[in-house]
């Protein structure tokens, strides 16, 4: 494989690789060839999502079988099968796409392959059952561009995810890969920093600190030994944006790290990644190996006197290590306990040297900003929150998955236009953002545009981008308790208010959910929350009470209902409700047959009764009943 030693080598390769992605991207240079291919159906590409989500649903088996089937039929010179990153619509995985038609196939199964190749690829017959079904009109939509899930999205960080083969540097070069670095190397580091500052890019990991300023501080520090760290310790339960970027487009993060390294004067980069992401780790290892072989990592990159290399470091399951000082401690092989700021890492970080820590998504935004200019980036989004944000949409939603929208998009647009509304037509109760550091935004606020500021005002925060949709069947006290139990476990124990406070809070919450809380439980929680926020050293403690405080703020009556009336209307807290069968019951015996405790008494076409003494409140009858005859009281 040819080395890429100079800028000229890079552009030559870009020219040579132009046909690689011809079918998938609207590359002007090869438009004619694509038209021809479309007409004559000479060339096709089948993309198989290889992201962890789809892989969990056997996409790897599909990839291998499909490839073999096509080879067996001698079609492999005409039909290429490629494994890519996430297409976004994880809920309907495994997902496949065919080009140039841009057809989108959902919930694909290995047993469909024979039929798919024979009927669809060879005979050109439409296989309706593989297409996406619109949840409202029940119409089948074959093309991705017409699926509502994709219509309001705008991709910057995810631009290559689900488009290129993440294991091939050549494909990345074909989408202008490493041209941003080449451009930067012909400028001074301060010019690079000014572009980032002008773009208004803010950290995507949670806090939202302006990236350019962070870089500038580090650039101005004396000394030659500096470090740039990529924070890939995505510990938020329910968030997988960073993982998808690393699995789908590892090169863009690696290129951006080199750009950052050049800007701040570092020639060593470290990626701190969760050990729970084996597939992302493998993709990174493959990518780094290729970059070293082609000399895009190492000494004198692209013929300049800039040298840069990247090392992988693995986390070991500690949420607090997402905090930058704790992360640095962990890279140094210590317990991941945060330290006081100042000194900030940009002044004194890894091994006491100036260090910049940026999040994966922040890095993924850098190459397009350099190539398209800061004005382009600043024109997207709102006044103070520029660009786009990637969210991992999950919970009680019809179409969950990975999405990227311009800042300022409303929650309503995300939930109803992109996500297709709530599952089973249930009522929206709240949206949780920011993970254990964030809060719950109630349904009334869904028209607020999403920006760093608006989310903070509503008692939540942007966080890294987990977005969990909560419906009427979820108990808000229980949700708050869930997050607090998480922080109890994850508090590093350094500061007493956080260590002890995050233990006391779930204790009180447990009393509430079990029905023996004291009358002043809410006030106690509020006081405790305030103290923990004010007296903790790091972000974990300062935000830990948010899930409780925000649910008290917006769902106070639900708390009071638990404490005073001993009732959980959502039917979650087992001590505080019973199931009852109402007059909707048709006597169909479904609940009777499914009850594992034998607690339902009934005969055909007669109203059933629940024996409260036997009932374990497992909820199976509630889920199985098609007549809304089981109610929570």
């Amino acid at each position: 494989m040819k080395k890429i030693k100079t800028k000229e080598d890079l552009f030559q390769l870009y020219e040579r690789n132009k046909t690689l992605l011809a079918l998938r991207t609207a590359d002007e240079r090869v438009k004619e060839d694509v038209e021809k291919a479309k007409k004559n159906k000479t060339q096709r590409e089948i993309l198989v999502c290889g992201d962890t989500g789809c892989a969990s649903a056997k996409s790897k088996v599909i990839f291998n079988y499909l490839k073999k089937e096509i080879e067996n039929r001698g079609l492999d010179d005409k039909i290429k099968v490629i494994q890519t990153g996430c297409f976004g619509l994880c809920e309907k995985g495994p997902v496949l796409m065919s080009f140039p038609e841009e057809n989108f196939y959902v919930e694909f199964k290995p047993e469909y392959i024979k039929n798919f190749v024979e009927e669809h690829l060879i005979n050109g017959k439409d296989l309706d059952r593989l297409y996406y079904t619109d949840p409202i009109t029940k119409r089948k939509i074959p093309k991705r561009s017409e699926i509502p899930f994709y219509k309001k999205q705008f991709k910057i960080a995810l631009r290559n995810v689900g488009v290129i083969d993440p294991s091939q540097l050549d494909e990345y070069i074909a989408v202008k890969g490493y041209q941003a670095l080449a451009k930067c190397l012909s400028m001074s580091p301060m010019d690079v920093i000014n572009i980032i500052k002008k773009s208004g890019l803010r950290g995507r990991g949670g806090g939202g600190f302006p990236t350019g300023i962070k870089w500038e501080v580090c650039n101005k520090m004396p000394g030659d030994d500096k470090f740039i760290i990529c924070n890939a310790d995505e510990g938020d339960p329910g968030a997988f944006m960073d993982r998808s970027i690393l699995e789908g487009d590892p090169f863009s993060v690696l290129e951006a790290m080199a750009i950052g390294g050049y800007a701040i004067g570092a020639n060593k980069g470290v990626i701190y990644i969760r050990a729970e992401y084996p597939s992302a780790i493998t993709r990174l290892q493959v990518a780094i190996k290729q970059l070293r072989e082609r000399e895009l990592l190492g000494k004198n990159i692209l013929g300049n006197d800039f040298s840069f290399d990247i090392e992988l470091k693995y986390g070991a399951g500690a949420f607090v290590c997402g905090e930058e000082t704790a992360l640095i401690a962990s890279v140094q092989g210590r317990r991941g306990e945060p330290t006081t700021k100042p000194p900030f890492p940009a002044e004194k970080g890894l091994w006491e040297k100036p260090t910049v820590v940026n999040n994966v998504e922040t890095f993924a935004n850098i190459p397009p900003i350099i190539l398209n200019g800061p004005e382009w980036f600043a024109s997207i989004g709102t006044e103070k929150s520029k660009g786009t944000k990637v969210f991992a949409l999950a919970g009680k939603i019809n179409y969950g998955g990975l999405i990227e929208v311009p800042m300022g998009t409303t929650l309503r647009e995300i939930i109803y236009d992109i996500g297709g509304g709530l599952k089973n037509g249930k009522q929206l109760k709240a949206v949780q953002t920011g993970g254990p550091s964030g809060g719950c935004i109630p349904a009334e606020y869904i028209d607020t545009p999403i920006t760093y500021e608006s989310l903070t005002e509503s008692g939540s925060m942007m966080g890294s981008g987990g977005m969990i949709v909560i419906d009427e069947d979820n108990c808000m006290v229980d949700v708050a308790k869930y997050y607090l139990e998480f922080t109890t476990h994850e508090s590093c124990g350094k500061c007493a208010p956080c260590r002890i406070g995050t233990k006391r809070m779930p204790e009180i919450l447990t009393q509430i959910t079990e029905g023996y809380a004291e009358d002043d439980a809410i006030e106690k929680l509020e006081n405790l929350g305030k103290v923990i926020k004010n007296a903790s050293l790091c972000g974990l403690g300062q935000t830990a009470p948010n899930p409780v405080l925000s649910t008290i703020r917006f769902f106070r009556n639900e708390y009071e209902n638990h404490i005073k009336n001993k009732k959980c209307k959502a039917g979650v807290c087992k001590n505080l409700f019973i199931y009852r069968i109402n007059d909707n019951c048709t006597g169909c015996l479904v609940c009777f047959k499914n009850c594992p405790a034998g607690a339902i008494i009934g005969a055909p076409r007669q109203k059933h009764i629940i024996n409260f003494e036997k009932c374990t409140k497992c909820g199976i009858c509630f889920m199985k009943c098609r007549f809304n005859a089981i109610e929570v009281v």
Binding site: E91, D236, P237, G333, W351, G435
Partner: protein, 182 residues
Amino acid sequence: MGVALDDLQLTQKECHNELLEQMYNKLDDFISSLGIQKRDPFRKGHLIQVLHKAQEIFGYLPEEVQIFVAKKMNLHLSEVAGVISFYNFFTTTPKGKHQIHICLGTACFVKGAQRILEEFTEQLGIGPQEVTEDKEYSIDIVRCVGACGLAPVVTVRDRVYAKVTTGDVEKIIKECKEISSE
């Protein structure tokens, strides 16, 4: 040094078991391949990586292994033990032959993962982080495997069970044996 050399030799003498010896050799080779110098101030930066490897080899990190690592890397045992106790990923107790991981990430949680966990506990008679008496099964809670679209999720080795209901639990337990023999 916090570790007496005698301790180490004693443990090594005790391990007549050939398999165990092989395990120690494997770990030794790995540590040697890192080229750590005894007085290198940055040597501790490799510790977490070494512990990952050790746990991969032994399945867990008993005191003997901790002593071995401390000795090899010229660190105090307290430093090694401190790191192990801090991180969730490291365990000092052996796991069951079949490890069942139940995801309790937020997406799984709001879709009823707690009930799935209760069902496993009920059927196996053990709670999270516990092992059945016959050492066959253990239950672990994981915080988000990143397959939120498929919630609630249970994993056994490489197999991922998606959109699990309480009714699937018995089947999953039965299939564990088949998965382990793959």
